[in-house]
C-alpha cells in the first residue's frame, strides 16, 4: 500500500515561504478537480519565487466540510475547495449550481465561469462573511449508479438512492418522486453491498475511482448537474498579500482551474471507458425523460429562486441556454 499521498510530496523545501496558503479538500487527489490543488501549489511557488506556499491538504485532513468552512471564515484555514453542496451553507446563492439542468454540462460550466455577468455575483456573494469564490473545478456529471438497470423514470422508482445530505438534493428527489436516503458517505459501500441502498446519486469518475461500480454495475446518464468544487478563499488573507503577489496568485489559480476543468472532461471519458471495459453498462436518458425531470422539478426552482434571487437565476438560465 504505502502512503497514499507520497507521490504528491512537493519537490521543493517550503520552509522559507513568506505566506502560507492552507488549502483544504475532502476528496482524493486522483480526481482532477482535486489534484489541481497540487498544480496550483507548484506553479504558485514557481511564479512567486518561493514567496507563497500553497499547503494543500486533501482527503479531509483538516476536517469535514462544515468544519473547514467555519475555520475558513475564522481565518484558521485560508482556502477550501468545497463541494458545491456544502458551499451553499456559506450563502444560498452558491446553491444555484446544484439545481437540476442549470449548469449541467462541461460547456455551460465553462461559460458560467468565463462570463463576468454570471460569475461575479456568484464570486462575491460570500464577501459579507469574508469569503470570496475564486474558481470552480469539478468531478464530472451526475447520474445514477444502480444495482439494477434503470433506463427511465419508472424503473428508477424501484431504487433506493443514496443522496448527499443537503436540502436541495432532498428537494429534487422528492419532486421526482424517487425513494432516497441521506446516508453518510463512509457507510455507502456496505449499504450498497447489503442492499440498504440500491442506487447512488454521483458521477462516473467518483463511482469508478472509489470502486462503487464493483457493486452498482449500471449507470444512468441523467446528466442533471455537474459535481463541483467551489474554490473559496479567506478575503482578509487575500487582501493582506502585496498587490503583485496577489495578482500572480489569482492568475495562477484561474489558469490552473481552467486547465483542470478540461482535464476533468477527459478524465470522465477515460473513466467511463474503463468502467465499460470492466462490464459496467451505461444508459442514456431520452430527451423526453429529461424534459419530464425538468418539469417535475418546477417546485424546486420555485423554492430556490427566492433564496438565490429570481433575477439572477433567470439570467443564468437564459444566458447558458443560448
Amino acid at each position: 500500500s504505502g502512503n497514499p499521498l507520497a507521490k504528491w510530496k512537493p519537490d521543493f523545501d517550503p520552509s522559507g515561504a513568506e505566506y502560507t496558503y492552507l488549502l483544504s479538500n475532502v476528496s482524493h487527489p486522483a480526481i482532477e478537480g482535486v489534484g489541481v490543488g497540487y498544480s496550483i501549489r507548484d506553479r504558485v511557488w514557481q511564479e512567486t519565487n518561493g514567496r507563497i506556499y500553497v499547503d494543500f491538504r486533501p482527503l479531509s485532513q483538516l476536517g469535514g466540510e462544515k468544519d473547514v468552512l467555519r475555520k475558513l471564515k475564522m481565518g484558521a484555514i485560508q482556502g477550501m475547495m468545497s463541494s458545491s453542496v456544502a458551499a451553499a451553507n456559506l450563502a444560498p446563492k452558491l446553491g444555484i449550481v446544484n439545481l437540476p439542468y442549470v449548469i449541467d454540462t462541461f460547456e455551460k460550466l465553462d461559460k458560467f465561469r468565463e462570463t463576468p455577468e454570471l460569475f461575479t455575483p456568484f464570486s462575491e456573494c460570500g464577501l459579507k462573511q469574508k469569503v470570496r469564490v475564486l474558481d470552480i473545478t469539478g468531478y464530472g456529471t451526475y447520474g445514477w449508479a444502480t444495482t439494477k438497470p434503470v433506463t427511465n423514470l419508472d424503473e428508477a422508482k424501484d431504487v433506493i438512492f443514496r443522496i448527499a445530505q443537503a436540502p436541495v438534493n432532498a428537494d429534487i428527489y422528492r419532486s421526482w418522486g424517487l425513494k432516497f436516503t441521506a446516508l453518510p458517505w463512509p457507510d455507502v459501500p456496505q449499504a450498497l453491498q447489503t442492499g440498504v441502498i440500491t442506487g447512488l446519486d454521483h458521477t462516473p469518475t467518483v463511482c469508478n475511482i472509489t470502486k462503487k461500480f464493483e457493486i452498482a454495475k449500471y449507470f444512468t446518464e441523467v446528466n442533471y448537474a455537474q459535481g463541483l468544487f467551489i474554490h473559496m478563499i479567506n478575503e482578509r488573507w487575500l487582501q493582506k498579500l502585496p498587490e503583485d503577489l496577489r495578482a500572480t496568485f489569482l492568475r495562477v489559480v484561474a489558469e490552473e482551474s481552467a486547465k483542470a476543468r478540461q482535464r476533468t472532461r477527459a478524465q470522465q471519458e477515460a473513466q467511463i471507458a474503463a468502467a465499460k471495459a470492466n462490464g459496467v453498462t451505461f444508459y442514456a436518458l431520452s430527451a423526453n425523460q429529461k424534459q419530464k425531470l425538468v418539469d417535475l422539478a418546477a417546485p424546486v426552482y420555485k423554492r430556490w429562486e427566492e433564496k438565490i434571487g429570481a433575477d439572477y437565476l433567470a439570467t443564468v438560465r437564459a444566458r447558458l441556454a443560448e
Binding site: Q129, K157, A166, K179, F180, L183
Partner: protein, 172 residues
C-alpha cells in the same frame, strides 16, 4: 443555609438534565427507527432523521457532562492516587480546579462563538434548516452548569460536607 441552597440548585439542574436527556434520546430513537421502517417499506424517507440523531448526540454529550460532574463519573486516570493514597485529597482539588478552568473557557469562548454564529443568517443545519446558533448556545449553558456544579462539589469536599471517597470511573 448554604447546604439548602445547594440542594435547591442541584434539584433544578437535575430536573433539566434528566428530562431533556430523556426527551432527546426518545426523539432520536424514534426518528431513527421510523426512518429504517419507512425506507424499506414505503417510498418516503425521513431524510432529516440523520440530522436529528447527530444533534441529539451533541446535546446528550454536553448536557450529560454536567450530570457526570455531579456523579463524579468523568473518566480520569487515577493511577497516582491509587498508588499514593495520601495524595488523594490534593488531587481531588486539582481535579475540581481543572474543571473550573475548563467550564470557564467553555462559557466564554462558547458565548463568543454563539454570538458570531447568530449574526450569520445563513448558518443553518443542512436538512431542517434550523439556525445553528441554537446548538452553539448549548455549550456556554453547559459551561455555566458545570462551573456551578463544580463549585458546589469543591465546597462540599473542602468543608467535608460529605465523605470524600471518589467514585471509580467505570466505563467502556
Amino acid at each position: 443555609m448554604l447546604k439548602k441552597l445547594f440542594r435547591r440548585i442541584d434539584a433544578a439542574f437535575s430536573f433539566v438534565e434528566d428530562w431533556s436527556l430523556l426527551i432527546v434520546v426518545a426523539v432520536a430513537l424514534l426518528s431513527g427507527l421510523l426512518n429504517i421502517i419507512l425506507r424499506k417499506a414505503t417510498p418516503y424517507s425521513l431524510y432529516w432523521s440523520d440530522e436529528v440523531i447527530r444533534k441529539a448526540i451533541f446535546f446528550c454529550t454536553y448536557i450529560g457532562c454536567s450530570a457526570a460532574i455531579k456523579q463524579r463519573a468523568l473518566i480520569r486516570i487515577d493511577a497516582v492516587p491509587q498508588i499514593i493514597p495520601v495524595s488523594r485529597k490534593f488531587f481531588n482539588v486539582i481535579n475540581h480546579l481543572s474543571v473550573l478552568v475548563f467550564s470557564g473557557m467553555l462559557t466564554w469562548l462558547g458565548w463568543k462563538m454563539m454570538v458570531e454564529v447568530r449574526a450569520d443568517e445563513f448558518a443553518t443545519t443542512a436538512t431542517l434548516q434550523i439556525p445553528e446558533w441554537y446548538f452553539y448556545a448549548i455549550l456556554p449553558i453547559v459551561g455555566v452548569m458545570m462551573f456551578i456544579r463544580t463549585v458546589m462539589l469543591l465546597t462540599e469536599d473542602v468543608f467535608n460536607l460529605s465523605g470524600d471517597d471518589t467514585q471509580e470511573a467505570a466505563n467502556g
